[in-house]
């Protein structure tokens, strides 16, 4: 559990000796609380205090990784329950389940969907992050074939091996070599054998039991055998149980320092109904699942879930930004107007969306203002006539236009005079104050 600065201060020598590089013990305590200093910087702390602070410095949700290579999946390390308190740090891994009891054609098709899943959104490349290989055939040779197909066709995609038979797991892990899959298959009946397999191959293990109490007890036993990287599955399969179990587990880990549930959570969202599956997956993304497993990966769902994950895991303190450039909305001509705005992603999306909807072609000039909205950027001196003029002149736009008209946001009508002076040959028009008035503005102006 994270300690407050004052709680930490009580454990320090209170000598204000400055050996740690901070002026006082209290200042050092505050830095420790913000995780901006190391306990080791204090040479005079008692061993007891050092032990207490060391334990407190461990993240309440353990860091667990699986996969190898460029797309390794890292989970855990979360410190809060609500995203307005502090950023959620490790975006939910979105995995697709592929079962071994289907014809090869079905497996190839599912793999093709995964490999073809990458979408670019606000400069982030988003894709299905992992494949869960589900052992349901009861035929270990068939599972081995599935594993070989996945490794041949999707060698860079991290794997989750869903197997509860220790012998099958051993064979599969031997084939997987250094790929470090997550072995999801430790249950009460097999935990000793499975733990040994996970230990031997140095892979993280998924702990499966019905309910939080049972899963916590089993996790303790597996940890006792020496497997430290764990993922927990409390058997939650419906939205209400996912919400309940995930909330209670996250709270126990963060607020009560309950280590036996301080692990990433895996959630199985699979359903016959694709839309319901999407909504259960959404619940996992919003409410603390580190892995969400889907049955299928249609493109429309990928786009929706990737976008949702981006929304939830964005840093609430840092605005999302889009790239500074001239965006074409529709098919603008040398006669089309130029509309300028800032690069706060929300501003951009709303302005671009309104223009698109009214189907009037426009050059949309998006200027880098460090992700600030129009009024904030203006107040901060980032969106001034001189800077706007420089951006427009250097954008390459003037050479492409025969009619040079620049539309500025209505709230900054005050800039129009200065801007016309700095942009000779241009007409500066004051646009509407709100983006939702843009369609009427664009449609009703003289052509």
């Amino acid at each position: 559990m994270a300690l407050s600065g004052v709680q930490i201060f009580k454990l320090l020598p209170k000598t204000n000796c400055k050996k740690c590089g901070h002026p006082t013990c209290l200042a050092f305590a505050m830095k420790l609380a913000q995780r901006q200093a190391s306990v080791d910087a204090c040479p005079d702390m008692s061993d007891e205090s050092r032990g207490l602070l060391g334990a407190a410095a461990e993240p309440p949700i353990k860091t667990v990784t699986f996969g190898a290579g460029p797309h390794v999946c890292t989970m855990g390390e979360e410190t809060v329950l609500y995203r307005h308190e502090k950023k959620f740090v490790r975006p939910t891994v979105i995995a697709v389940r592929i079962a071994d009891n289907q014809p090869d054609a079905g497996i190839h098709a599912a793999l093709a969907d995964v490999l073809n899943s990458e979408i670019d959104r606000i400069g982030q490349k988003l894709r299905i992050d992992a494949i869960l290989l589900d052992y349901v055939s009861g035929n270990s040779a068939r599972y081995q074939q599935l594993l070989e197909m996945v490794m041949a066709q999707a060698p860079d995609v991290p794997m989750i091996l869903s197997v509860q038979d220790a012998d099958v797991a051993e064979t599969a892990l031997r084939s997987a070599g250094t790929k470090k899959p997550l072995l999801h298959g430790v249950i009460a009946d097999n935990f000793e054998a499975m733990s040994q397999v996970a230990l031997k191959h140095k892979v993280p293990a998924g702990i499966i039991a019905q309910g939080l109490d049972a899963v916590a007890q089993l996790a303790e036993k597996v940890k006792g055998i020496g497997v430290s990287e764990l993922v927990i599955d409390s058997g939650a399969r419906t939205a209400g149980v996912v919400l309940r179990d995930n909330t209670l587990a996250r709270r126990a880990a963060i607020k009560k320092n309950f280590k036996a549930l301080g692990y990433p959570v895996i959630t199985f969202a699979g359903r016959d109904d694709a839309m319901l599956e999407t909504l259960v997956a959404m619940t996992g993304i919003a409410k603390y699942s580190s892995i969400v497993v889907l049955n299928r990966s249609e493109q429309w769902r990928n786009l929706a879930l990737f976008t949702y994950r981006q929304n939830i895991y964005t840093d609430p303190q840092v605005p999302m930004q889009v790239e500074q450039k001239i965006y074409k909305v529709g098919e603008p001509t040398p006669e089309s107007p130029v509309i300028i705005t800032t690069n706060f992603s929300l501003t951009y999306f709303i302005v671009a969306g309104e223009i698109e909807n009214c189907r009037v072609p426009v050059w949309l000039a998006v200027m880098d203002c460090e992700g600030m909205s129009v009024l904030t950027a203006w107040a901060a001196g980032k969106f001034t006539p001189a800077k706007i003029a420089q951006f427009i002149q250097e954008s390459g736009l003037p050479e492409q236009l025969t009619k040079k008209e620049l539309v500025i946001p209505g709230y900054l009508a005050i800039l129009s005079g200065a801007l016309e002076e700095k942009l000779p040959g241009w007409t500066v028009t004051v646009g509407p104050r709100e983006a939702n008035a843009l369609p009427a503005f664009l449609k009703n102006r003289p052509q």
Partner: protein, 317 residues
Amino acid sequence: MAFTEPKEAFPGSIYDVTFGTERTVTFGGEHGLAFHGFEGAAPHLPVIAFEVQDSLPDDWPEAVHDVYAGVSGDPAVWARFCQDELKAQAIALRLLSTHPDREDRPAADAAKTVADVLDAVSVPIIILGSNHVEKDAEVLVAAAEAAKGRKCIIGKAQEKNYRTITAAAMANDHLLIALSELDINLCKQLNILITQMGYARERIIIDPMCSALGYGLDYTWSVMERIRLAALAQNDAVMQQPMLADVGMYAWKTKEAQAPEAELPRWGSLKQRGIAWEAITAGSMLLTGAELLIMRHPEAVASLQQFIGELSAADER
């Protein structure tokens, strides 16, 4: 290590709201966070209202426009279709034609539309203006009078027009939506201003301003979460109203709900994409505490109803 479930009991709770006369619907009343029935009473499920407007939905994408193709010319017929065929729990009538940039129809026309719709259906009605601050003040006063005695929800009252709209709601015995733009402090301030006029705080519904998936949903998420925590954990009596999410108009305006698959093949089926956009936006609002949703596509609504059923059943493994 023995595990004790870390359940939380909050000092505050949410007001419940009942609207309608012939048929009534009640929502709100929770003693905990959304769908946390395992630790605090959640006596009512969220309610979904179908959106109907008094202006042709020409700007709605095909997938949702076509659903109402035969009925959208007449708001009373449209509302009846939602009630009888789609089994709507409630109807949200948006008086969009009154907007100066649309048809700029006068308040008297809107009052007539309201009367016609109320005659046509028995489910409870939400009456919305066109979100034009000045015009709404006129239109909603006339609409509130036309709906007197039917205990509707009217709105949206905003900082610049709340006085007239609140007075109309008070005089005609309606509930009131208070809209603030993604700011917990403005939300609180508007509630205070409205109650200072003598309007009961238990009759307000908070609209913290919806935003669509990918278009600021994260802002709405955190504002709603903070409003709800203020109501429950800090027991702030000014913020203990149920919340509205006006989902459909935001979700169906996005590029993702409109761009054809031919243009963006990596985005997949346009129809499913649009429905998913509305369903996820709405589902996310539910998770942060919305008790009243306004939606458009019947398939998205049906999925949400299934989802609500699942969310409220945390004891069924």
